[in-house]
Amino acid sequence: MKKKITSLEDLRKIKSESKDLTSARSGGKSRIIIGMGTCGIAAGAREVMTAILEILDKKGIKDVAVETTGCIGMCQKEPLVDVIRLGESRITYGYVAPEDVERIIEDHLVNGKIVADKVIGRTD
């Protein structure tokens, strides 16, 4: 049986716990986009995506949209991962390996510091 709500705090707590239930359905968030074309998959994009989801879960980050996209033509630099912080430019990282993911999320997504050595492009 569920715990009864006996105060406004209880309700607010359930609301914040439930927020991520529907949060993927609303816009207005930072985004991580993974290239999942055949080229990306062949280069290991699936493993990168799994790493991204694991790290986000580990750090308890809910307020981000994780999207996939098709081939953008730079197949030789796959796996490609784009990070768009809310209101900022789209930064594209190339040759991303699962072990790079934590750095990209921690430094760039959370703290706004672009991981320069992995960047291959920027779109405004």
Binding site: K4, A24, L56, T68
Partner: protein, 598 residues
């Protein structure tokens, strides 16, 4: 809980279920598991999105891609292409009517939604109605908490009065004043009722709200109970709405488990218990006194008012009854303030109204629009106009109690007063669109047959008057009408209105009165020329084969269900008019268009 990167929402409202969404849901579940995506892609069943015409509807977030008419065979492609590789499946996206090549990538850019304003339907199609946490995540039960913990019942009532909310069941009585009457009525025991006995042909507003967002009704009723001082409530829902009832039962159970229903709600002294009463589907039980009689276990028949339910209602106790859509607005009003709500709509009609747009219209479905929007915008801009290049002929507002309006009235703004002035009524929100192939006499006959069947029989004017009027209409449609019949119809219509106790009889003549007012020529064509201009009334039409065009292929003769067509192979065929039942099937199969109807 791990982050779900994508959400797949599959509509399991009645409309989409009927077009097969349950199979799509199962296929999606299996496919996600097979591809190992079930831990990162959340599969959600939702209520109605409103665009029932396009069902089964599947929406994929975060992109907001709106996939239409999805079959189980499409599922592997959506999973492989969209969810795995991030490539939106273009061919399944919504396309503008008549322009199949123009695909609309985002849910919010579809014109059907662009002109709508969703308050009562805020969560419909967006949340899982069986999950109270999703409702809470979208500010659910915040309004109840605000009212219970921060406002007095009087202050809460004041917000509802300020909002200008009027009864959405059709009559448009100010909700705040209704509550005030029940609040002022002396008595310790008071009841709250939700009228979910929606029964107009072509209306499914209430069903969709109950199926898509049942907690909104529970919360609205809790707030109403807090204001008037009721500790018990009923939802009177027809048994023909099994899914709505299932979702309500679940919603009530979840709210009880969380202490949002029952004793000492949210730790306060406020107690409220909610029951569901399943109705047997009698139309008259939507009338409040008949509804209460039905809950009490009596035959559903109206009783004279006064006394009004506010003073002497269910089991003789003060009772407040509101319709589903009215309740669905309450929490939003308390949460955002009465002033916010009254800023939407017109001078006298505030907020929004939900319409079930059906009939000869491209986007059959559920629409919520601000009050004051012209009928034309709802039918043509949101509804997408008339299919197959046909011409608009009429729109029936308010179901069997409402009226039939012609093209010339399409600029009427949708608010209680403007619609009443036309002779139709706002009603609960049924909007049946008709094209040039619809016979107006036939329409009047259809609605009168309905009210005739549903009359409870208590008042002679309603019981016998509707029967006699129906006989006259049948006579006219069979070419046996007289011109005097029209005056007689009008005279009887007014007498039935005046001589009936409840809304059913008082409004039953409305379809006749409005069609006589706006489409009198068509009645005259039936009576004087013995012609049915829309070619619907079987007694007044004839199918004939043009011997010059007929190639003698025998297709029509083989199709004819009554063997009325004869002729030799490769020679012109003829229809025996005495045997012909005017079903029109021959005309549909003729490959050379040799058959015409006059």
């Amino acid at each position: 809980m791990a982050l779900y990167r994508a959400h797949v929402l599959i509509c399991k409202g009645t409309g989409c279920t009927a077009s097969g969404s349950a199979v799509v849901f199962d296929a999606m579940k299996k496919e996600l598991e097979r591809r190992g995506l079930d831990k990162e892609v959340m599969l959600v069943e939702t209520g109605c999105h409103g665009m029932c015409e396009m069902g089964p509807i599947v929406v994929v977030y975060p992109e907001g891609s709106f996939y239409c008419r999805v079959t189980p065979e499409d599922v592997p492609e959506i999973v492989e292409e969209h969810l795995y590789k991030g490539r939106v499946v273009q061919r399944l996206l919504y396309a503008l009517p008549g322009e199949e090549s123009i695909k609309v990538p985002h849910y919010k850019d579809i014109p059907f939604y662009g002109k709508q304003l969703r308050i009562a339907l805020k969560n419909c199609g967006y949340i899982n109605p069986d999950n109270i946490e999703e409702y809470i995540a979208r500010d659910g039960y915040q309004a109840l908490a605000k009212a219970l913990l921060e406002m007095t019942p009087e202050e809460t009532l004041e917000e509802v009065k300020k909002s200008g909310l009027r009864g959405r069941g059709g009559a448009g009585f100010p909700t705040g004043r209704k509550w005030e009457f029940a609040k002022m009525a002396p008595g310790d025991k008071k009841y709250i009722i939700c009228n979910a006995d929606e029964g107009d042909p072509g209306a499914f507003m209430d069903r969709s709200v109950l199926e898509g967002d049942p907690h909104a009704i529970v919360e609205g009723m809790l707030i109403g109970a807090y204001v008037i001082g009721a500790d018990e409530g009923y939802i009177y829902c027809r048994a023909e709405y099994p899914l709505a009832i299932k979702r309500l039962i679940n919603a009530i159970k979840q709210a009880e488990e969380m202490g949002l229903l029952g004793d000492n709600i949210m730790g306060t002294d406020f107690c409220f218990h909610l029951h569901i009463k399943e109705g047997a589907g009698a139309f008259v039980c939507g009338e409040e006194t008949a509804l209460m009689a039905s809950i009490e276990g009596k035959r559903g028949m109206p009783t004279p008012r006064p006394p009004f339910p506010a003073n002497c209602g269910l089991w003789g106790k003060p009772t407040n009854i509101n319709n589903v859509e009215t309740w669905a607005n309450v929490a939003q009003i308390v949460l955002n303030g009465g002033e916010w709500y009254s800023s939407i709509g017109t001078e006298t009609s505030k907020g929004t109204k939900i319409f079930a747009v059906t009939g000869k219209v491209n986007n059959t479905g559920l629409v919520e629009a601000p009050m004051g929007m012209p009928l034309r915008d709802i039918i043509f801009d949101i509804g997408g106009g008339i299919p197959n290049g046909k011409k608009f002929k009429a729109v029936q507002l308010g179901g069997p109690s409402g009226g039939c309006l012609p093209e010339s009235m399409l600029d009427t703004p949708v608010d209680y007063e403007s619609i009443n002035a036309t002779g139709a009524i706002m009603g609960s929100g049924g909007m049946v669109v008709m094209d040039e192939d619809t016979c107006i006499v036939d329409v009047a006959k259809f609605f009168l047959t309905f009210t005739q069947n549903e009359s409870c029989g208590k008042c002679p004017f309603c019981r016998i008057g509707t029967k006699r009027m129906l006989e006259i209409l049948e006579r006219i449609s069979e070419g046996r009408g007289k011109l005097e019949d029209l005056d007689l119809l009008e005279d009887m219509a007014h007498k039935v209105k005046d001589g009936s106790l409840c809304g059913l009889g008082q409004t039953a003549p409305n379809p006749i009165l409005t069609t006589l007012k706006y489409f009198r020529d068509e009645y005259i064509a039936h009576i004087v020329d013995k012609k049915c201009p829309a070619k619907v009334c079987t007694a007044l039409i004839q199918y004939t084969i043009d011997p010059a065009k007929c190639i003698g292929c025998t297709k029509c003769a083989r199709q004819c269900p009554v063997n009325a067509i004869s002729g030799e192979l490769k020679k012109p065929h003829v229809i025996d008019q005495d045997t012909c039942i005017r079903c029109g099937q021959c005309m549909a199969v003729c490959p050379v268009k040799a058959i015409s109807v006059e």
